[in-house]
Symmetry: C2
Amino acid sequence: MTNKKLGRQTAALSSPLALLSWGNVAGKKEGEGPLGNTFDYLDGDDTFGESTWEKAESAMQRQALALALNRGGLAVSQLDWLFAGDLLNQCIGSSYAARGQDVPFFGLYGACSTMGEGLALAALTLDGGFGQRAGVVVSSHFCTAERQYRTPLEYGGQRTPTAQWTVTASGAVVLAREGEGPRLTHVTVGRIVDKGITDTNNMGAAMAPAACDTIAAHLRDTGRSPDFYDLIVTGDLGSLGSQLLLELLEEEGLPLANHADCGKLIFDPKRQDVHCGGSGCGCCAAVLTGLLLNGLREGRWRNLLFCPTGALHSPTSAFQGESVPGICHALAITAP
Amino acid sequence: MTNKKLGRQTAALSSPLALLSWGNVAGKKEGEGPLGNTFDYLDGDDTFGESTWEKAESAMQRQALALALNRGGLAVSQLDWLFAGDLLNQCIGSSYAARGQDVPFFGLYGACSTMGEGLALAALTLDGGFGQRAGVVVSSHFCTAERQYRTPLEYGGQRTPTAQWTVTASGAVVLAREGEGPRLTHVTVGRIVDKGITDTNNMGAAMAPAACDTIAAHLRDTGRSPDFYDLIVTGDLGSLGSQLLLELLEEEGLPLANHADCGKLIFDPKRQDVHCGGSGCGCCAAVLTGLLLNGLREGRWRNLLFCPTGALHSPTSAFQGESVPGICHALAITAP
């Protein structure tokens, strides 16, 4: 059998997969941001009708997946596999969302890069001939993340200037071997990169080297130049991390003129007090399943490189003096 | 392209993959158990030379993977992909172990089923034509798990009779498209099953219905009867969960005469005070990479169904009154 790998990190799909349908839900603050009208459902008080924030996050995943399935005219029983993840300890956002749903389940942990990891694994599985359709769903919730990673909301902790704001959102995609939609053609899987950043309130800086590593690997493996893409979109580097990424790529001889970052796109820095921008699994997932995939379908862009980024630390690793390892996966998507 | 799926949950590999090499490390108590001589390295004080339990767990993964690679005469750069997971919040055991290793990385969360999830995804990826070799490594550590899921060791909490003992161990496998070794032929991916057990000290009962669901699905999808296998080995149901599994399968008309459970095999209930048995990602991983794969290579068994089980809850979900969802993946492995 032929090897469908290009270089060290990239998988070239033997036939492009369709991003058949997608859906998302988001919270109040996200709805008030510049992408508010790209979200399918906005919750007025971020509870999504549940009694705890963690249960709200599971409800978000269930709802985003249901929206994506509905739009594709599919039932969950028509998914061959479900790939899901979130930021919570033991990924309970995903497990409780998928409970009782009749679908073979893979739980992932890739921090904020999880939408990239899920799309990558779904693509490798389907292109390998295993099944027809896979769902990918991820989420993050500001209130669950604050409670778990930082301080309880009631504490009213002050945020540092480099901090980012965890997005309350969930995004779901149905990937399929047949059907209409934007096409996923290549997947570049990230390595873990750690340049020694120990400030967990500066995750943009911690993740930028991983984004640089993966984007450079993708271009090297595919032989493409940055201008092949109309847009190279990172996950949640935020304003500081984005600036660092551009500097790092410039040093590699890869100046980007077409970079955007979901963490910068999702909030308005003038009107919304989010410091360096948005973050969380739900950040790039909600931007992908709104602005980006809608834009590809409508012909706004032709070729997109979607590069979710993640910081693979925990409060415990930070307390133990560890630096923050980053990862980034890149997915090449073309207009239908 | 043909669909290589059988039924709802099973992937039939187009050509069996070799379990090329494997390695494991374990702690003191595990070394004193009945499988002590099947572990490659035993640490005298469970620190693995590190200053914190969490760093010890990362060291265990690095060492287990290095042992597996060495035995296969491979460098980490010859792995196309690494699949890794553990029980820690944000899976830091795996992320810090893989940091700085030049290998595309997929982080998984499947609780104690993670070795099954990793082997399944590695198999789907390689059989799909993406790369030649993949590593799978998982771990658990008694001291990190107690601190995080229950009470700090210093507290000296009393254990309930249905409790299990988290195994301090890591196991690694190199899966390859070419080479000698036991063969992985089928992968049955589990659904999340929750029958309403809310006692987090009775995880055997919480996971047994998922094990029943997946074993029944595997037999249905492949058309095999239980006696096709010389051994059907669950992950860490322990003594109570194993008994429940046999009762549940009997009700399904699938009596098992050839069942074993890694959680029961790894400790000696007469000499070692572990109540219902061992648990943790490292439990079935260490039994697989010792007793089971060595036994297959030596002709002790011909056909094995390896069924790691996981409980997908967290302390937070338990505090919020939630029941414990279970999952189980099944892997059909034949002697070389």
